[in-house]
Each structure stands twice: as C-alpha cells, then as structure tokens.
C-alpha cells in the first residue's frame, strides 16, 4: 500500500504558493482496533485551499482535529508553522490555535450565548487589551463580512442551519487566522445554501488571505473551493491533485467521487 502514497504530486502547482505551513507525514492514529489514520501525508502551502475528500467516518475529521491538537496522534509527524504539535507546550499550542480558525461540522455555536458573545468568546483569551469599542467594531465587521450583522443579539437556537454556519465561520475568522480548517462546511445544507457557503468561504479566503483545509464529501463545494484535492481512502493519502486531474484519473476508487457530478 505504501507505494500508493502520493499517487500524483503536482510539482508545478506548488510553486504558485508560498512555504509549507502544515506538514503532515506518515501520521498514524487509531482508536482501539479502529485504525483511522494509517499512514497519512499531506503538505499545505501558504495561500492554498486543499480539500480532503473521503467517505463519512473515514477519519477526515480526526485529521484536522489532530492539527489543532484536539486529538493526540499515535505516530508520525505533524508540523504547523514548523512546530511539532505533539511536542509543544499548552501555552504555545494556545498561541498556535489563535492562528487557526476551525469551523465545526455542527457549527458548535455556544447555545447559552448570543451571537455577539459567541464571537467575543475567542477574544477573551487572544484579544486581551482590546477596548470595548474595538471589540464591538471587530464583531460587527466580521458579522458584516458573512452578511449577518442584523443577527448580532440573537441566540443561536433561533438561527437556521445556513446562518449558523455563517456565524461559525465568522467566529473562526474574528482572530484573523492564517489557517482555516473546515469540517464538512456544507453538510446538511440545501444545495443553494451550500453553494452560498462555498462562495463565502472562497471570498473570506481571498479577504483574509488564509490557507485552508476543507474536509468534505461534497463535490460541488470541492470543485468550487479547492486548489488541490487529497482523496483519503483507508487512512492514507490515496490520490492528490487538482480537481480536473483527479477527475481524469482512471482509478475506480477516485472516480467514484466524481460520478455524482
């Protein structure tokens, strides 16, 4: 299986982007007998949007949770801005996390807080020293970016799924992160809303100049947002390349993802 790793490496594409900021090599993670990540390797360069494709439950979410240190990995190396995640202290990890925006599958808005408080929450730790007006301005600016400025005092329970996604996106953008990690951003949304969200992600990527990893099995979203795709099958980086390159591949496992289009 090992020879299958990095099936296609797009050497010319890489030059368009900056230095690698996330380097994943031979990552292994298992929960008991369930070997989720077997030997996964991927490198993300600055300014790059990488979509990780894979079936549900194949360990895509585990991968990005490893990146922010939510789940410790068993073996291999995972470097973010050159820092090995498993070796750094909590303090440094927190500083690193401030540079990473994480959009959760379920939006993960804090139910007990208003939209404003949700957005301010991240500033508690990382935005110290900001005055009340600065915070308010930042919150409003970010909400305006996702088009939900009117919902600032609303409780999350009153929001629709699409709005929750937007708020979740706004919340992870408020610290102006360098890396965005999206966990299934379009899952559970109707196609139109899903497209809106994909466009919004792209827009934000341009506005904030972020690099992203987008976990998805939504091909429309992938088509729209990805500079590069990685197909995760059985816990390894089965295939890698641009959308069109992968589409043209003859491998039936890869082809299966494109059949629905």
């Amino acid at each position: 299986m090992k020879e299958d790793v990095a099936y296609h490496v797009m050497a010319p594409e890489q030059k368009k982007y900056g230095d690698p900021i996330i380097e994943i090599s031979h990552l292994v993670k298992s929960f008991g007998d369930n070997h989720v990540l077997r030997d996964y390797s991927l490198t993300i360069r600055k300014g790059e949007n990488v979509v990780v494709l894979g079936k549900s439950g194949c360990g895509k979410s585990v991968l990005i949770k490893c990146i922010v240190g939510l789940i410790p990995y068993d073996k291999g190396s995972l470097k973010v801005f050159g820092n090995e995640i498993s070796e750094i202290q909590q303090q440094e990890l927190d500083e690193l996390r401030a540079k990473i925006g994480f959009v959760f599958q379920s939006s993960a808005l804090y139910d007990s807080m208003t939209v404003r408080e949700n957005l301010e929450f991240a500033l508690r730790r990382h935005g110290k020293g900001k005055s009340r007006t600065e915070v308010n301005a930042l919150v409003e600016e970010t909400l305006d970016n996702v088009g939900l400025l009117h919902a600032v005092e609303v409780m999350p329970a009153e929001l629709s799924g699409g709005m929750r996604k937007r708020i979740g996106l706004a919340r992870s953008l408020i610290l102006k992160p360098e890396i965005m990690l999206y966990d299934e951003p379009t899952t559970g949304l109707d196609p139109i809303t899903a497209k809106e969200i994909s466009n919004l992600m792209l827009k934000m990527q341009l506005k904030y100049n972020t690099s992203s990893i987008i976990i998805s099995h939504d091909m429309h979203c992938a088509q729209l947002t990805a500079n590069r795709l990685s197909v995760m099958i059985d816990g390894i980086n089965y295939a890698e390349g641009t959308f069109d390159e992968l589409r043209k591949m003859n491998d039936p496992k890869v082809h299966a993802f494109f059949e629905i289009l």
């Binding site: 008991g32 007998d33 996390r97 139910d111």
Partner: protein, 262 residues
C-alpha cells in the same frame, strides 16, 4: 479507549469500577485546574446565578411544604406522649440536621444535576467543548470548574435559606394547631440546637454541592455521541448524584459521631 480485554469481573461491576476510577480522576483534574490561573470568575458568577438563584423558588416551595408537613405529621405522636411542647425542638433539629440539607440536595440533584448533565452532554455532542478548546479557552476550567465551584458554593446557601423557610413552615403548622408566638417557637428551636447540629449540616451541604456538580459535569463531559447520549448523561447524573448524596450523608453522620458532635 483501552484495548478490549477479557476480564474476570462481570461487565456491570467492571463498568462501575471504570466509572468510579474516571470520576476520581475527573475530581483530581478539577483540583489541579482550580489551583492555577486563569480563573473564570465571571463564569462562576453566571453559573451561580443559574444554579443558585434560579433554584431558589423550587427549593423554597419544597422546603416550606416539608416543614409544614413534617410538623403536622409529628404532632400526633408527640401529643400522645404529652410532649407537644417539644414539637418546635424536634422539628427544628430534624430540619436543620437532616431533612433540610438532604431534601435540598436531592431537589438540586434533580434540577441542577440533570441540567448540567444535559447541557454539557449537548455541548460535547455539538463540539462546543472542542470549539472552546480551539479558541484558546480551557473548556475544563471554563465549563467544569466553574460549575463545580458554583454548585459547591450555592447548595449550602440554598440549604440555609431552605432551612429558614422550612422552619417558618413548621412555625405556621404549630401556630395553626395552637397558640405559639414566633419568638417562643424560634426560642425553643434554637434552645434545642447546638453547633454540633448546625455546622456539620452546613459543611456536608458543601460536599453535597460538590457531588452534584462533579457528577453532572463528569456525566456530561463524557457523554456518548448523539442525542440519546445526552439524555442518558442527564439521567445518570441525577441517579448517581442522588445516591452519592445519601452516601455522603451516611459518612457525615459517622464523622460527626466520631467527633462527638451528636
């Protein structure tokens, strides 16, 4: 997620030991986390309001009824002994020593324990806890420590206020049946009480509060995925913390007896 091994213990017992061990570990983590900054004072106050102040109506009504009913029920027995004059003393001692703290704690285990279990369970399921961690806030400190501190501090306050309301209920019950002045009633109650009655009951309330918070948080924090897991967390939080309240109560009796306070 340890490797599944064949165990000589039956599954139920094994699960019990695992849970007991994990709860102890959880409590240990609480004490480690509470020692070091940052301290989430604002969250403690917010939770105290939710846990303490908002439980007051329920605790108050329950306490009032218990005081009233206990007095009315004890009365015939004492009357048949010709010891009706002892009614305030007897009711006072029972309320302060035992019924006040235990009833309040059980009510709170039902109300607060379940809400903490469900809230944390759904936070876990909807990745809010992960989101907090990613945003640089220690979720254990922010969610767990603040809640356990709040329950530990608020249950005793609820117990004291509940006791006072309960005694007032008892006073009304005595007054309905016979002429007794407010002063006489409370004089007789306090005549019968000593520090050995009042202080252990307040001290054990802190432990009741700690147990309610700890179990609620543990059950919620370790909730299984899915909505069913949330329900189960809330349910088992109530069951386990109620049971723990009685166990603590039993231990408290033995300890106070050991120190000769009975």
């Amino acid at each position: 997620m340890a490797e599944e091994k064949k165990s000589i213990l039956p599954k139920g017992l094994r699960d019990f030991y695992i849970e007991a061990g994990e709860t102890t570990q959880f409590a240990g983590r609480f004490f480690r986390e509470i020692l070091f900054p940052p301290y989430e004072f604002r969250e403690v106050i917010r939770q105290s309001y939710e846990i303490g102040y908002k439980s007051l109506p329920l605790v108050g009504i329950t306490a009032f009824i218990i005081g009233l009913v206990l007095t009315l029920q004890s009365r015939p027995t004492l009357v048949s002994f010709g010891a009706e004059a002892w009614l305030p003393a007897m009711v006072g001692v029972s309320i302060i020593r035992e019924i006040g703290p235990v009833i309040t704690a059980l009510i709170c285990a039902g109300k607060i324990g379940s809400s903490i279990g469900a809230e944390l369970g759904s936070m876990k399921v909807t990745e809010q806890i992960d989101a907090m961690e990613v945003s640089g806030t220690n979720p254990f400190k922010y969610i767990v420590v603040s809640r356990i501190v709040s329950t530990t501090l608020m249950i005793p306050v609820l117990v004291v206020i509940g006791d006072a309301i309960s005694l007032y209920g008892a006073f009304l019950a005595v007054k309905v049946k016979g002429a007794v002045s407010f002063t006489l009633f409370f004089h007789q109650v306090f005549e019968a009480l000593n520090f050995g009655d009042a202080l252990p009951s307040v001290i054990k309330s802190f432990f009741f509060g700690f147990a309610i918070g700890l179990i609620g948080c543990y059950k919620g924090y370790h909730s299984k995925k899915g909505t069913e897991g949330v329900g189960r967390s809330a349910n088992s939080a109530v069951v386990v913390s109620s049971l723990l309240i009685f166990i603590i109560d039993l231990m408290a009796v033995q300890i106070t007896e050991f120190f000769g306070l009975i």
